[in-house]
């Protein structure tokens, strides 16, 4: 009998006797499933957050802030400065003018549905080009606000996470009531967490004079970004920081992503260590229960290596089954789960959906396999090393 068929027959034997070791096998299975659920669950939070922050930032849009500002919130421009930026030759043009939107970014306190407590909901004042500068932005309910009027439209994420943002209701800004006239979506992008109004209207309500905080511009081609950046940063009338939209949002999400991933990985690693012990226990008891059987096989001429390999395969299969169950559970429990959190950098809420991506599921399976292999190795080696004569005599 060759080596491979030896492995196959011992593995079959082992798997068939699994029902007799239900308790121990279930422990490993559940232990590993638990690790995968926690790992995939936590990382899907980070994946969803990152996606919201990165999706739909097209390579040809650039965001301009005051130099030294780390977010829109603390940036500031006068109207003249935003005009200089809009007049750059690299900015794309359409019918009525430059595709550049000077914007105001403030927050407004609104209660969050999940906790009932006030949260910093972003409120953005935009110029007419805002809708063309962003991709995939469309009004899905109601209508666009009228320019110059005290009206707002809300992102679908904001409407879902915070109370009082249904189309037809109104929000209180200082002493004014602003009706919500429409709702927009943007393919899950971060602006779905925002409320939008006319920048001029917002300037007045927030006592901002004729100032803005950022300029979002669509460039003629992605390639001219460097020229655009160089000409603005060297302009003595300006003191600005120019980033691609994608870079800006990557920077904005860094702290949060790092926090979630650090905590997620530390919790999952600890759990994985626990699961390794569970797997070791299971396989040790499997070996102990089959001491005689294994010794008999060895006496019949099965090789030690074949015993080791087949026991490891058994452990691996058990672990993978646990991993798959955990992955499936995580998928059904977490995928597309909507929530919102505070983004420290922008000081405001970001609504996002958990995303259990194929990559995360694969990562979970790799963890499960690793736990299974580590948990199977020592017991397998012990099984192969048992002195045959003594083992045969055992109970």
């Amino acid at each position: 009998m060759n080596w491979l068929s030896q492995i196959i027959s011992i593995t079959r034997f082992g798997l068939m006797s699994l029902p007799q070791r239900r308790g121990a096998a279930a422990t490993t299975f559940i232990g590993i499933a638990g690790v995968v659920v926690v790992l995939v669950g936590v990382l899907s939070m980070s994946a969803g957050f990152t996606r919201a922050m990165s999706v739909s930032s097209s390579p040809d849009t650039a965001i301009v802030l005051r130099s030294g500002a780390d977010s829109e919130m603390v940036s500031g421009f006068s109207r003249e400065q935003t005009q200089i930026i809009a007049d750059s030759p690299e900015v794309a043009r359409a019918g009525q003018g430059a595709l550049s939107s000077a914007e105001l970014f403030v927050i407004i306190d609104l209660p969050k549905r999940s906790t009932g407590m006030d949260a910093n909901v972003p409120l953005r004042g935009v110029e007419p080009a805002a809708l063309q500068v962003r991709d995939h932005l469309k009004i899905i309910r109601g209508r666009m606000f009228e320019w110059g009027k005290d009206e707002v439209i809300v992102g679908s994420g904001a409407a879902r996470e915070f109370t009082g943002l249904e189309v037809g209701s109104s929000i209180k800004v200082g002493r004014y009531q602003w009706p919500v006239v429409g709702m927009f979506s943007a393919n899950g992008a971060v602006c779905e967490s925002e409320i939008w109004s006319d920048a001029k209207v917002l300037q007045a309500a927030y006592h901002r004079g004729d100032s803005f905080q950022s300029v979002l511009a669509r460039l003629t081609t992605p390639g001219v970004f460097q020229t655009f950046k160089d000409s603005l940063t060297s302009n003595p009338q300006l003191n600005v920081k120019v980033s691609r939209q994608s870079e800006y949002y990557a920077e904005q999400s860094e702290t949060m992503t790092r926090l979630i991933r650090t905590l997620g990985f530390s919790v999952a690693s600890l759990m994985a260590i626990g699961a390794v012990f569970a797997a070791l226990n299971t396989m040790y008891s499997a070996v102990a229960a089959r001491t005689r059987e294994i010794a008999t096989l060895r006496a019949m001429g099965f090789g030690g290596a074949a015993v080791v390999v087949s026991l490891m395969i058994e452990s691996l299969l058990l672990a993978l089954a646990g991993g798959a169950a955990g992955g499936a559970l995580a998928y059904f429990a977490f995928n597309d789960f909507h929530t919102s959190t505070m983004n420290f950098q922008s000081f405001s809420q970001v609504a996002f959906a958990f995303r259990v991506t194929p990559r995360l599921l694969l990562e979970g399976m790799i963890w499960a396999a690793a736990i299974g292999l580590i948990g199977g190795l020592l017991p397998a080696v012990r099984a192969a090393r048992l002195p045959i004569a003594a083992a045969l005599r055992e109970l």
Partner: protein, 384 residues
């Protein structure tokens, strides 16, 4: 105690198994300690909030500034003892990743309203005499190795001095400590008069106010009076107890309690399963022996006791080591670099941990103990 030897021998019978079970319990409790500390770090501020303090902010949102002139008007409101203000400075020291809070304050009023911050009298005096002086919390001072007499440059992302200069130099004149373990000592406090004179733009505007009320029981009424005072002005206010303010702040991140409890739930369910399974396996193997014990006169209670003690011993040793390890790891400090200023392992959770150890031990042994209890001597002996 006289059966201790017997229990000890039982534990030694399968050393590998005992060790592995012990280690999985240990891991569960390290995780417990770690998660409790994270929760403490995120929600601890609520417990530390002063019952006699109110926070007043702009009604629209906290980023809107309030006039500095509100101070005098607040102090005239009945029930208000003292009002003082702070402003978000948004400063960066060396690297944006080195996050900590800086605030311009009115030194005397601020220290009076926050008795949990302890600044030695001579340092306080020095602060009042040094316009550019700053008092920094112990934690931040240690983090950046600042000493009294150091000059630290901090770049504000918000506030500029003349000539668009955003780098502010502060002289460290004092280092304050917290009265309790949970007191946040990460903020750098500097003088409002210096700040207001040097800044370009926003002069006479402050971020938010802290008020001390005469009677904490009347805090809610006083808060209403404050908001009424500024109603229909350009800057309407929203006043709430400090605890509620901090609570709302924490809730902005999400429902932390729920996340922590569900992860812990998953972990404990798993570990309980592992331990319980191992324990019942260990008892099952010894059915015959338990029968012998009963046959030679051990009572049911004694046999059950032996099984229970064996299980509890594993969970208490494992859990105790785990809690100890967690405590050691957590005392090394915040793993995120400044985002969690209140990261420590609270004593209350340590006690809960110990209780959980015992519960785990009893729960894991419950089924096998029941088996041992029901065991009939004749059946058991036949299985030998």
């Amino acid at each position: 105690m006289k059966y201790f030897h017997l229990i000890w021998c039982n534990l030694k019978r399968k050393k590998a198994r005992t060790a592995l079970t012990l280690l999985s319990v240990l891991v569960a409790f390290v995780l417990f300690g770690f998660l409790c500390s994270i929760k403490q770090a995120l929600t601890g501020g609520v417990q530390m909030a002063g019952a006699d303090r109110l926070i007043v902010r702009d009604k629209v949102s906290i980023i809107q500034l309030l006039p500095q002139s509100y101070k005098a008007r607040m102090e005239r409101i009945p029930g208000v003892v003292l009002a003082t203000h702070q402003t978000w400075f948004g400063g960066v020291y060396q690297d944006p990743k080195n996050f900590f809070m800086q605030c311009p304050v009115e030194p005397e009023e601020f220290l009076e309203i926050h008795p949990e911050l302890i600044l030695p009298p001579d340092q306080k005096k020095a602060w009042l005499q040094t316009r550019t002086g700053a008092a920094v919390g112990r934690k931040t001072a240690e983090r950046f190795h600042w000493k009294i007499g150091d000059k630290v440059p901090i770049r504000s992302t918000i506030w500029a001095q003349a000539g668009d200069n955003r780098v502010w130099d502060f002289d460290i004149v004092g280092i304050y400590d917290g009265k309790e373990k949970g007191t946040d000592t990460t903020a750098l406090l500097f003088r409002y008069d210096y700040f207001d004179e040097a800044r370009v733009g926003g002069k006479g505007q402050v971020g938010w106010y802290t008020i001390r009320v005469k009677d904490p029981a009347l805090a809610a009424e006083t808060a209403k009076l404050v908001d009424k005072e500024f109603e229909n002005s350009d800057s309407e206010t929203k006043t709430e107890p400090e605890g509620a303010f901090v609570q709302a702040w924490v809730s902005q991140i999400g429902n932390i309690q729920l996340i922590v409890v569900s992860i812990l739930g998953a972990v404990f369910f798993t570990i309980l399963l592992v331990t319980a399974n191992t324990m019942s396996q260990a008892v099952r193997e010894r059915t015959g022996e338990l029968g012998v014990l009963k046959a030679i006169g051990f009572t049911n209670a004694q046999v059950v006791g032996i099984v229970l003690v064996e299980s509890c011993l594993i969970s208490i040793i494992g859990g105790g080591l785990g809690l100890g390890l967690a405590w050691m790891v957590v005392s090394r400090g915040d793993p995120t670099g400044g985002l969690l200023p209140l990261f420590f392992f609270p004593a209350r959770d340590l006690v809960i941990g110990v209780v959980l150890c015992v519960t785990l031990g009893v729960a894991a042994a419950a089924f096998p103990a029941l088996q041992a209890l029901r065991l009939r001597v004749s059946d058991a002996l036949r299985r030998m």
